[in-house]
Amino acid sequence: MALGTIDRTAKALVLTVQDYSLFSWRALLNLFTPPRYIPDFLVQSDIIGVGSASIVLLSGFFTGGVLALQSAATLSEFGATAVTGRFVSITMIRELGPVLTGIMVAGRNASSMASELGSMVVTEQIDAMRALGVDPMRKLVTPRIFACISMLFFLTVVADAFGILGGGAVTVFMNHQNGTQYFSMAWEHLRYPDIIQGLVKPLFSGYIIASIGCFYGMRTTGGTEGVGRATIQAVVTASVLIIFVDFLITQVLLTLFPAP
């Protein structure tokens, strides 16, 4: 009985991974053949990029502030409060900026993609689109994936910048340290590999968020309850995958660009 359940679960998991691989591969390939829906790409870029800017900006700012607060106490024990800027900028750019932005955007956009497409599936709008001769993969999925990849890149830059600013604000106004020193440490110790690491990650996170959101949305079954289920699955899977892929990319990039 238990073995049977494990067997069925394992098969279902393998089947889901297979379906997801084919789904996301097809969505990527659609970029290289017409028709391309540029207006849909722009609309999605606006929804994802402009729509998520405020939450990314705020979460980045406060994360930078928290980093400065937490590090100041520890660094002061070693008389190294001067390196707060370096600590905040490297942590934000290499790790927290990309991951936090990814998770914030996943919570907002993977859920909205899954619920929007899921609702379209259960109300037969996707079938209607196919019946009207339009490929929903090209019209709905591909623009979302590429809009999410490109917007997450810029949102991560925004999160990094506001994180460093937040750290600076805490350093100057709460820890009463020198602001010039903070920003100069933040800038001078930054290396290209740090920036590369920070800007490669959102490309993968953007792809994960949109492809997982669309995948669960497009395979919704079971009416409105199914839409809710698809939304939860999309957010949970996207968030976990973002952190997992972040770990893999960090490992690869640290091998390629070892610390000096």
């Binding site: 079938d127 209607a128 019946a131 339009v134 490929d135």
Partner: protein, 291 residues
Amino acid sequence: MNESAASSQTPPIEPGQTLSGRDFAPAVEARPVVAFRDVSIAFDGPPVLDNISFSVGPGETRILLGPAGVGKSVLLKLVNGLLRPDRGSVLLFGEEISNMPEEMLFPLRTRTGMVFQEGALFDSLSVRDNVAYQLIQERVPDDLIDRRVHEALRFVELDETFDHYPSSLSGGMRRRVAIARALIHEPELLLYDSPTGGLDPVTSTTIIELIVKERDVYRSPSLLVTHRLQDAFTMCTHRFDAEQNRMVPLPKGETDSNTTFLMLEEGRLIFDGSLHDLVHSQNQFVREFLE
């Protein structure tokens, strides 16, 4: 009469039956628009459709009857390749589509019009953009789109909803907009999935009147799924009078000879024939369904 096994031919006109003044030849002589040959499909269980064979000829209207859950909507979705059969072949406009890649199906689907059970209008688009959906994808100029949308909306008598959104329309109005959307591209085949399902009798009659109007004005072949006998009989015993701009009954004893019936029972096609054949059928299930 042709019962218990499906026929791929339209049955001959029975003695005493007459054409309803239509001036085109019966469909049997031309290549069918749709042909099913021993089609079966299952979804994790017993077959939903089992060895289904039938055809829809040019100018023919076929009404697919059966109680809820016998696979009527599944059959309709097999016609334009929205679903793929497990066995058998489906021919649409003479082309075998059961194994056709999705990309090749899209151009074929643009030659068909489909009206879904609940209308399936795109919530985020206005009525104008819903009706014009195919034309917008084909980058038809805006002024031409507006003109054709107005024409299509006038046909379903909803011209005033041009700028409205689907959420502000009633159930019946949504179906009528869905019919306008299906008609705008002048389809060579129309598929209606329970167009009157869940509507009150008056609104149902309005929808059936539109379908009869489409049948008698444009004469597109069509396949209509319904479980409402009243709708099916109305379609068979009425015609659209262009002068009066309304549906009128045919003279007593006359039926529209190009409107014929199919009936499903538990995934099997148990009836394929005319209204006359249907009402005189000795099949137990058909008798129970009619009663």
